[in-house]
């Protein structure tokens, strides 16, 4: 694992909440300009891993972002370095309008956010219709779109996505992942996506890691993992 190929390098990452340890020494990397998937069942530690990267939980171990350590930085400082994080539950500012949600996404960027907003409306035309509406009144799918758009407003170098398919109807999920493909192609952002729905994630990912009870049990190219017999049986269900 080297800085040249991996934008984010994580080395022997331990983390937990209070006395409960959740992660027991993870080593992984997020490929530059591509999608890396973190798979695993409920409670495997996927969300905690993302929180650890964003400085939301106490950790030990090393996290290098573009070769520089970011562990120990405040969450807002990590965001300011170009790490956008769509948390579990999407983190929508329910009381604020769609426009204000997007403006907040660009908080760390000086200058007029409107051109970026227009670009987001290119990906998500529905958001344009809902521009002045309170974000809490949006449907689940629309809120997920808003969350991704909000994160992209930061011009992130690394985008962390926590379960983008969670709680959405399959049709909506397909729509969102189709848009995500466009975004990946157009923006060149490196993405770390966490998913329970392994087949979806493997379809867009370049590399993947499989997490079980806080440990990485398998890693490799997404294409290889997709072919793996054991993974297929336990996570892909066919």
């Amino acid at each position: 694992m080297d800085t040249e190929n991996f934008l984010l390098q994580v080395k022997s990452l331990h983390a937990g909440y209070g006395p409960t340890r959740v992660l027991h020494g993870l080593d992984f990397g997020v490929v530059r300009g591509g999608v890396t998937a973190l798979l695993g069942a409920n409670g495997a530690g996927k969300t905690t891993t993302l929180r650890a990267i964003s400085g939301m939980v106490r950790i030990s171990g090393e996290i290098l972002f573009d070769g520089t350590p970011i562990s120990g930085l405040a969450t807002e400082a990590i965001a300011a370095r170009g790490v956008a994080h769509v948390p579990d539950g999407r983190g929508t500012f329910m009381e604020l309008s769609v426009e204000e949600n997007l403006r907040l996404g660009a908080y760390t960027k000086r200058g007029d956010p409107r051109p970026d907003m227009e670009r987001m409306f290119g990906y998500f035309p529905k958001l344009k219709q809902r521009f002045r509406q309170q974000a809490g009144t949006l449907s689940g799918g629309e809120q997920q779109m808003l969350a991704i758009a909000r994160a992209l407003m930061l011009h992130p170098r690394l985008l962390l996505l926590d379960e983008p398919s969670f709680g959405l109807a399959p049709l909506i999920v397909r729509e969102i992942f189709a848009i995500m493909r466009q975004i990946i192609a157009a923006e060149g952002t490196s993405i770390l996506v966490v998913e329970q729905n392994a087949s979806l994630a493997l379809a867009i990912a370049e590399r993947a890691y499989l997490l079980e009870t806080g440990r990485i049990v398998m890693s490799g190219l997404a294409a290889d993992i997709r072919k793996d017999e054991a993974v297929r049986r336990s996570y892909l269900g066919y």
């Binding site: 405040a74 969450t75 948390p87 500012f93 996404g105």
Partner: protein, 290 residues
């Protein structure tokens, strides 16, 4: 009829003061779910600062601006030094600290400035009443100032990047951090703003009630009632609630219960709101924060 209108307008003038303090309370409540019981005493101390400056020969409006600025800085300092460490403490601890500050500020003011009532100048002059005698000059001027301040605060929250970030930090601190908003600084700034608004309210009410260390006790109580009436989670509601309480207090005092029971009206308003519509006129229905 004229007497009635006079009471009504006079109620709006005091209501503006309650509205300001109610707004200050709601701003802090929204962000931290703390009710700042020391908000009134902070405003009272600010007013003494203004009086000291004016007596030292500083022109009124310069003293006004200096006082608001100093109050904001002190407000930020208090949040940073005293309240930030208590962010996750139980209600009892935060109430304890607020009551402690209330007692301290009150005594410090008494110690330095004595407990005697002091006249406080009005920048609008003593002159004859205006608008057919419905408004005294000070009532008109102070209503103007409070409305101006409230509008400015609204515009700040509505149209500026910082105002938006402060609202976001209050609503959803976790997401705010994730988009890069320094939430702790926003809370401190909110305290600063609340202290500044309180200072204006103190300087506007002092010419009417005279300045003494207990000047703001009644105002704070009516502001509580106003904040609850409007909905403690809604800043605009707090302003409307504060104005309504001012009018209710004045009309009630003049025509219903008499002046001896004026303060009890705040209690009645609070209890009625809690029984009839706990979320207030404009607040969202809220779950019990047990």
């Amino acid at each position: 009829m004229d007497a009635f209108l006079h009471q009504l307008f006079s109620g709006i003038a005091t209501g503006g003061i309650y509205a300001s303090v109610a707004l200050a309370l709601v701003m802090i409540y929204q962000a931290t779910h703390h009710v700042n019981f020391a908000q009134g005493e902070m405003a009272m101390l600010s007013t003494y600062v203004a009086l000291t400056l004016i007596q030292a020969g500083v022109p009124y409006w310069i003293a006004f601006v200096l006082t608001v600025g100093a109050s904001m800085i002190v407000g930020i300092g208090i949040q940073w030094l005293v309240l930030r460490p208590l962010e996750k403490a139980p209600v009892l601890a935060s109430v304890g600290v607020f009551i402690g500050m209330l007692l301290m500020f009150n005594s410090v003011a008494g110690w330095i400035f004595s407990y005697t009532l002091k006249p406080f100048p009005s920048p609008f002059g003593e002159g004859p009443p205006m608008l057919n005698g419905l408004f005294s000059r000070h009532e008109l001027g102070s209503t103007g100032v409070t409305l101006l301040v409230l509008t400015a605060v609204w515009a700040f929250f509505r149209f500026t990047r910082l105002g938006l970030a402060m609202r976001a930090a209050a609503f959803n601190p976790i997401s705010s951090r994730l988009v890069g908003v320094p939430v702790a600084k926003m809370l401190a700034l909110g305290w600063g703003l609340a202290a500044g608004i309180g200072a204006v309210a103190g300087m506007m009410v002092a010419p009417v009630v005279f300045l003494d260390p207990n000047m703001m006790a009644g105002v704070l109580l009516y502001a509580f009632a106003g904040a609850l009436l409007g909905g403690i989670t809604n800043p605009l509601g707090a302003v409307v609630g504060g104005l309504l309480v001012g009018v209710i207090e004045n009309l009630g005092g003049a025509y219903v219960v008499g002046t001896e029971l004026k303060l009890s009206m705040a209690l009645v308003i609070i209890v009625v709101v809690l029984v009839v519509k706990p979320s207030g006129l404009f607040g969202k229905t809220l779950a019990s924060r047990v």
